[in-house]
Structures are given as C-alpha cells and as structure tokens.
Amino acid sequence: MTELEAKLRTELLTGMVRIRRFEERCVELYSASKIRGFMHLYIGEEAVAAGLLRALGPEDAVVSTYREHGLALARGLGMDVLLAEMFGKRTGCSRGRGGSMHIFDASRRFYGGNAIVGGGLPLAVGLALADRMRDRPAVTACLFGDGAVAEGEFHECMNLAALWRLPVMFCCENNRYAMGTALSREHAETDLALRASSYGMRSWAVDGMDVELVADAARRAADTVRAGAGPCFLELRTYRFRAHSLYDPDRYRDKAEIERWKERDPITQLAARMRADGQLDDTVLAEIDADVAAELDRAVAAAEEAPLEPVEDLTRHVYADRG
C-alpha cells in the first residue's frame, strides 16, 4: 500500500463523512423548520458519490436526481451554497428557486437536481452530443435510480446514446426501492446491468457500498468512454438507510433488512480497512469529524444570516435578462 493510495483512502473517507454529517445536519434543520419541501437523504449511499465523481475532471458534466446533496458536495459545491438554497436564501446556488431537489452549478457543469424520474437522461445525451460535436474530450456522468429504469425515457436514451456512440456514463444508483416499490415488484428482470447490455454498451454491476470498488469501476468506465468506445452503464448496488424522503413513514421495508445493510455501512467498512492497514486512528478520525463539523457550522451560520431574494425579483430568470 503506497502513500498515494493511503492518501486516496483518506480523501474517500473524508468525502463520505462530509456527506453523512451534512445530511444528518439537514435532518435537524428540517425538524427545526429551517428547511421545507421535499428532502431526500443520501445516507447509506455515500460511497457512490464519493467514489464515482473522483473519476471526473472539471471539463466533464454531471446530471443527477433529486437525491443529489451528496453528489453536489462530491462535485465541489460548498456546503454554504447548498444550505442557503435549502433555506430559500438569495445566496443559494439557485437563488432560492430550486430548493433541495434542484441544486445546480453551471461553473462545475453540475446540471441538477432533476426531480422527474428519468427526465435527466435526455439532458445527459444532449450534453454529450454537444461535447462530441465540438470535439471536447468530456464525459457526461448521468445518475439515476432503479426506478428510472422502468421509464420510457431511460430506454429511449440508452438506445440513442449507443446508436450515436456518445460519451455518457450511465450510472444507476440501484438502492432497491423506487420510492416505496421494491425492485422485484417493479422489474420483470431485476438484473439492471444485464438489461443495459442489451443496448450494445459495456455494463458493469458494482458493489455500491464499497467506495474503493466504486472508484475503480468509475475510473475504468470513464477511461473507456473517453477513449471513444461509446456509452457505458454502471449499476451501483447500494441502499438508503433513511426513508425515501422526510415525508415517508417507511412502512414498506423490513427493519431487519435495513439493519443488515447497515452492517455494510460504506464509511465504517472503509474506516475498518484503513485501521487494519494502519492508516487511520482515533486522532485522525476526530480531526476529520472536527473539520467537517466546523465547515457545517460556518455554512449554517452563513445560511441563517443570508438575505432573502427580494420578492420584486420573483419573475426574474423566467427568461434571460434583457437590455
């Protein structure tokens, strides 16, 4: 194990801890009515965001879903712009017009924050098409859940991207539930990678609870796509520990099932491996936690203090500003 690999592990761990603590704080803020609307938590799925987005550079694009806080953080957006957005403040990334489900950052090519299941896939195809037509060597990572695989837009886009050999990494975050509907109650064939391969693209199923496996698979997939092999499909088998959203009483899952998946918590798995290899001790872990907590405190304070978007600007940004 080289020093470089140890450093990578620390970064992966820190990335996951940042997401976990951020989401935990979001729950508190939601309970305190600072955040409203629908909010979908990423707790349990952190390995996907932290592992996957390491394979991308600034020239690449990301399209994601309404469960996107973790992906936004992994893409480099600050906790401050995310929280300010959820507080409905002017300093939010979408100036209070998007909320939890619509996080965007054009400068980081982070294209949402899409809350129509399957609706982001055509955008990813178009982003990749533009990059190809302009000879930009970029890859578009398109994230969606297992529920999207049942949508017509999914199949239209798999076909179109494969037909035109576009540089898209289709990344299915298979957390086994489309809201409250279990995979086996929604799909006639539950092997999603197998179905993707029917479109003539390379596809892999990956243990989405193991951040190192995710990072390896993502690098391999991105290299393949960048080399011009056309799109590929990654099925990231993961699990959300919390309910679908904060409105969800979670009646459709067996509590024992949730506990079984928690035994494979991506953060404790990696931490244990690092401890075994002598790369992590309580001091380092405490430092990571303290840094993240401080970052969160600063972001919450900034969001609290930030001004609201003036109501006079309500109809701004419906069309481009003119004049």
Binding site: G98, D105, Y111, I116, P122, A130
Partner: protein
C-alpha cells in the same frame, strides 16, 4: 423571388446551418427522407449527417438531447413531426426547457428551437390534426411563434435562434404549399409583435397561423357588404402582443377571435379575457369566438370541415357583432 412557405422555411434552416456552426437540425426523418413535410429536403446532402441528424422515434430523448446540447453551447433546431407527437416530449419541454433557467436561479439557459407541424384540414383524423399551441402558450419560460406568411416562415427561425430561451415554432400543415413573393434580401423578423394584415374600421378579426388565410377571405366577403374588418395576425402566442389588439379594438369597438384550437381554455379565451379586462368599455358588442368544434378531429371530409373554423362561420360572427 417566387417561393413557397415550405421553401422559405428550408431557406431559413439552410442559412442558419451555413452561417452558424453551432446550429444543427435533428428529428425524425429530417435527413434521408427530407422531412415528413419535405421542409428539409436536400439539407442532408448539403450539410452531412452530423448536422442534419435523423433520430430514432424517441421524441422525449431527442427533444431532451436538444435541451442538453443547447445548455452546452449549441443552437439545435429540433423538428417534431406533429404537435400531437410532441405530447411524448412534453416532460422535456415543460419540466426542463421551460424551467431550467428559473430553477437554477439564472445559471442555465436553453437556446433551443423546436419546430412542429400543427393543425387540421388534410383528413388526418384525431392523432395528427390538433392545434395545441395554445397549451404551450400557457407555459412561462417558453416563447411560442406561429408563422402565417412566407416572410415569417423565412424570418422567424433566425430570430428564434438568436433568442437565449426556448422557442417553439408552429407551422400549420395547410400553409406549406402557399406560394408567393419573398424579397431577395429577406431575413430575420421581429418576433415580439402582432401584425395588422388588413386595415379596417368596423371590426377586428384576431387570428394566427393556419386560420389567417381563412380570416382574410372572410374579411373580403364582409367587405362586399360594406363591413370593413381589420385583421390581426398575432404571430407570437407567447408573449402575447395585447397592445396591438387593444389599440385596434379601441378603434373598431368589435372583436371576433378565430382560433383552430378548441374553444374551452383556448388561446381565443385568453385574448377574450384580456379584451374584457382592459377594453370592456370600448366594446359595442360582445366578443365572439370562432373555434374548432369540441371533438377529436374526425376523418371524413364533411365532418372535418364542419369541425373547423370556416370562412362562412367568421362572416356570420362578423355580421353578428356589426349588425
């Protein structure tokens, strides 16, 4: 020069492809087939398959791909065969094209042009004949255009491509063969204002798109009886140039709105409401509407004729408000 509506539209596309390398045309059968209404005939041979792209029958995927490509710096022209088929892409048009700028707090823009055929009159029955542009005109974030003349067929597309926001262009199927003169130096036209196509002092006929020739024919007939109708071509359905309408009504004091859409919840209803809100005391007679019968469009010629606004219907309405 002598030309047709179809050729004027083709010339507009050809000119855009020639002068702006970001422009490309994409849709079902736009390439090898030449467009299902022949608009793009010859363009594949001239510009090649990268810029004149035949797509699979996947309206949602290729409209959404147009949105994605537009966000990434291209200026796509997407053709949908008919407005009825655009329902398959409604998610992308409504939930993405119209919302992304606002939902992202002004970070993103979608400079996309979507062209589609609309309207009845060719015995194509209930899945190829409807006039749903009024629905689209309901949606903030979109611009909706209806070229009714050869000059507008030539000039609206370049103006739409210059617009930083999504623009929908509705081409009425009965207009493609319309022949007439076009100035040799014809180019972009204003897309904000309505146009007065015939001046008159006795009543205002307000219409757009495929029913403009019908309204003009009705005005000819009314003139025989000494009733001089002013004919307004709305041209842009969103934004709606109410100023031109209200100014005309202030001089004629009578208004008849001709709209191939169904009466209930129609664009004609919107125009009527604006007249009622802002010019009620100018009126010497109640506003009248001539719309399509509220049936899915029937196939048989005599039934289709009975369902559509005809010259005789407009003449009856014109006489009623002036009588």
């Amino acid at each position: 020069m002598k030309t047709t509506y179809r050729e004027a539209m083709r010339e507009a596309i050809r000119d855009a492809l020639t002068t702006d390398e970001r422009v490309f045309l994409m849709g079902e059968d736009v390439g090898r087939y030449g467009g299902c209404f022949g608009v793009s005939l010859g363009l594949l041979e001239e510009f090649g398959p990268e810029r004149v792209r035949d797509t699979p029958l996947s309206e949602s995927a290729f409209v959404g791909a147009g949105i994605g490509a537009a966000m990434a710096g291209m200026r796509p022209i997407v053709e949908i065969m008919t407005v009825n088929f655009s329902m398959l892409a409604l998610d992308q048009i409504l939930n993405n094209a119209a919302t992304l700028r606002h939902m992202s707090g002004g970070q993103l823009g979608v400079p996309l042009v979507i062209r589609m055929t609309t309207g009845a009159g060719r015995q194509l029955a209930a899945q190829h004949s409807h006039s749903l542009e009024g629905w689209y005109a309901h949606i903030p974030g979109l611009r909706v255009l209806a070229p009714a003349t050869i000059e507008d067929a030539r000039g609206m597309l370049p103006s739409a491509l210059d617009d930083p926001d999504p623009v929908l262009i509705f081409e009425h199927g009965s207009l493609y063969n319309m022949a007439g003169e076009l100035a040799d130096d014809a180019g972009p036209v204003d897309i904000d204002r309505a146009a007065i196509r015939r001046h008159g002092r006795d009543l205002t006929l307000i219409t757009y798109g495929g029913t403009l020739p019908t309204a003009l024919a009705a005005a000819d007939e009314l003139a025989v009886d000494g009733v001089h109708a002013e004919v307004i071509d709305l041209r842009s359905l969103r934004p709606l140039d109410e100023h031109t309408v209200l100014e005309s009504v202030a001089t004629t004091h009578r208004a008849v709105i001709v709209d191939e859409g169904w009466r209930s919840g129609s664009l004609a209803a919107e125009v009527s409401a604006r007249i009622a809100e802002q010019a009620l005391y100018e009126l010497d007679a109640p506003v009248r509407r001539v719309c399509s019968a509220e049936v899915p469009m029937p196939y048989a010629k005599h039934l289709e004729d009975a369902a559509l606004p005809q010259v005789a219907d407009i003449v009856v309405a014109g006489r009623a408000v002036t009588g």
